[in-house]
């Protein structure tokens, strides 16, 4: 039996570095993105997200390292790489005085689309991005932000790229327009690979298969949401609804785990009970013991017990917090020199 061939990744980045003056924007990051994958790029401002995306789209060169898109080396065949990529820049700059259809025709010509294929592709992207009929005849300058964003996405889809890079695609959009953008990505799920950079964590959580968290030019976390949850949050939060007082409950919980801390205490409910949120650093087993211990005391009248799964925001803050503590303003290690 012959070994099954693993498909080549769409994006392969090895030890990529970039420096602006004395500031390290990227410090040797490595990652890969598979066919049809939707990957979210997260990180605080200045983490190196846009730099990575601009390098991958062929706009700027890297100082060192290797980046391959569809198996083609960016440093050697930058022009060819751009044929495989659809790129939506941050803030989506568009020429105001042109009509949507004129602009898409121009972009299609720039991307070497000709004749019937050009017409067919323009029609298709107008359909995907809901820009048909009257909207396509309107001037870009007169469009709302949501429609302008759709024009930008339509442009990135024109040449049937294998990789679409979206730098903050939903910034400034209302929830409805953001949902439409997500829907567009869902329609293409599996066919095209996406790299999505965003500050809206709920959006990344909702539509990305995998996340890469950057901080100070380094990857501080990478994986699916459940992988990140396991990796970053070994301590577990849990909620208890009980008639017990704060002191009673704390004493009982700390009998099992002295490090367990009370995070929150909600006002008295209609039943006269209160909702307490605790954080247990020792993990799930300790929480189970705490629950058993609490149930032994009938006076507590526990009516609800719930383990809270950490959301992406918590993971993001945890992942970047440690990195921020270790770096100074220029991204250099506070306690050790970088090479």
């Amino acid at each position: 039996m012959s070994a099954e061939k693993k498909p080549l990744p769409i994006v392969e980045v090895i030890n990529l570095s970039k420096k602006y003056g004395i500031i390290y924007a990227l410090k040797g990051i490595s990652f890969s993105i598979g066919q049809g994958e939707i990957v979210g790029f997260l990180g605080p401002n200045g983490a190196g997200k846009s730099t990575t995306l601009r390098i991958l789209s062929g706009l700027i060169p890297a100082d060192s390292g290797e980046a391959k898109v569809c198996g083609v080396d960016l440093a050697e065949e930058e022009g060819e790489v751009r044929q495989h990529i659809g790129y939506l820049a941050e803030n989506n700059p568009l020429p105001e005085e042109f009509r949507v259809i004129e602009y898409l025709k121009y972009r299609a010509s720039l991307k070497n689309l000709k004749g019937s294929r050009k017409r067919e592709r323009i029609k298709r992207v107008l359909e995907i991005c809901d820009l048909e009929r009257k909207v396509s005849e309107r001037k870009i300058g007169n469009l709302s932000k949501g429609f302008r964003q759709r024009v930008g996405i339509a442009d990135s889809l024109l040449a049937e790229p294998r990789l679409i890079i979206l730098d903050e695609p939903t910034i400034g959009l209302d929830p409805r327009q953001s949902a439409i953008t997500r829907k567009m990505m869902d329609r293409l799920r599996g066919e095209v690979s996406f790299i999505l950079s965003s500050h809206i964590l709920s959006e990344v959580e909702a539509c990305c298969d995998r996340m890469i968290i950057l901080s100070h030019g380094q990857i501080v976390a990478e994986g699916t949401l459940s992988e990140l949850q396991k990796k970053f949050l070994q301590s577990i939060s849990f909620e208890i609804v009980s008639k017990a007082t704060k002191i009673e409950l704390q004493r009982s919980v700390r009998e099992v785990d002295p490090d367990c801390e009370l995070l929150n205490e909600d006002p008295v409910e209609v039943t006269g009970k209160r909702r307490f949120t605790f954080n247990c650093p020792k993990g799930q087993q300790a929480v189970e013991l705490i629950l058993r211990n609490l149930l032994e005391n009938k006076d507590f009248e526990i009516s609800e017990f719930q383990i809270c799964r950490p959301d992406l925001e918590t993971i993001f803050l945890r992942a970047t917090k440690q990195n921020w503590k270790e770096k100074d303003m220029l991204g250099r290690g506070k306690f050790s020199d970088i090479n």
Partner: protein, 259 residues
């Protein structure tokens, strides 16, 4: 040069839909027309030794610092300000195709205005055949010489405009810089006007380069030859050097933005 024709078409479209270019062209042609009419009327009383057609070329040349900035200042500066240059460069096009495409569009618009300006003597030629013969408008070689001279210098002026636009993201600054550089260029030529320049055969590259600088000083002198239909290939070649020099600098500027 992938994408050159697409960029050219887009830029031309942009120039033709922009009201600012029309307003600038209209005022420029109107002023030029009045000037030309005034010159033709008073020509007999002046000691002007060149053919009257050359006055139109002089008018266009010295009016260029006012016209060229209107054509070129938007090309890169505005795109940089809006950020659309980044979108353009993300497409599979080369830097030089972008620079060359933008320059060709501005140059073609300049040619369009020059053709419109040459309609003034053409109108005289058809409506007043007798007077036009006296003024020398019936000599085809003068038309060709003058137009070629204008096209040559128009091309290098446009290249200077494109370069100015590529180094800033403020179109007003780009326009002022173009105006300054062109005025300086014309001033150097005007100061050196009448000095004797040698026509020589080059024995080395450095001599050729030096003669290019010499040609820049004596550009207006060369018009004396062109206006009577004597076409100097050397002058045309020198202007080509100026064009490619400034377009190359503009291309470097675009490349710098990628870093």
């Amino acid at each position: 040069m992938q994408g050159y024709l697409v960029v050219l078409r887009f830029e031309l479209f942009g120039l033709f839909v922009s009201p600012a270019t029309y307003v600038a062209s209209f005022y420029f042609l109107a002023l030029l027309g009045f000037g030309f009419r005034f010159f033709i009327e008073t020509f007999v009383n002046t000691d002007w030794i060149l053919p009257p057609l050359s006055s139109l070329v002089i008018g266009l040349m010295f009016g260029s610092p006012a016209l060229i900035p209107f054509l070129t200042m938007r090309s890169f500066a505005e795109e940089k300000r809006l950020g659309t240059l980044e979108t353009l460069l993300s497409a599979p096009v080369t830097n030089f195709a972008v620079v060359f495409g933008k320059w060709t569009a501005c140059y073609l618009f300049f040619v369009f205005i020059s053709v419109a300006a040459f309609c003034f003597p053409l109108i005289i030629y058809f409506w007043f055949p007798e007077q036009s013969t006296t003024l020398g408008f019936s000599n085809l070689e003068q038309w060709i010489g003058c137009f070629l001279y204008l096209l040559t210098f128009g091309a290098s002026f446009s290249a200077i405009g494109i370069f100015s636009s590529s180094i800033t993201n403020n179109q007003m600054v780009a326009g002022m810089l173009t105006f300054t550089l062109l005025t300086l260029y014309l001033s150097i030529m005007a100061v050196s006007f009448g000095e004797i320049s040698d026509t020589q055969i080059f024995s080395g590259f450095s001599q050729f380069l030096w003669s290019c600088i010499g040609s820049m000083f004596h550009g207006l002198n060369k018009m004396q030859n062109f206006s009577v239909g004597l076409i100097e290939i050397q002058t045309i070649l020198h202007q080509f050097v100026v064009i490619f020099y400034f377009l190359f600098l503009a291309s470097i500027q675009v490349d710098r933005m990628r870093k």
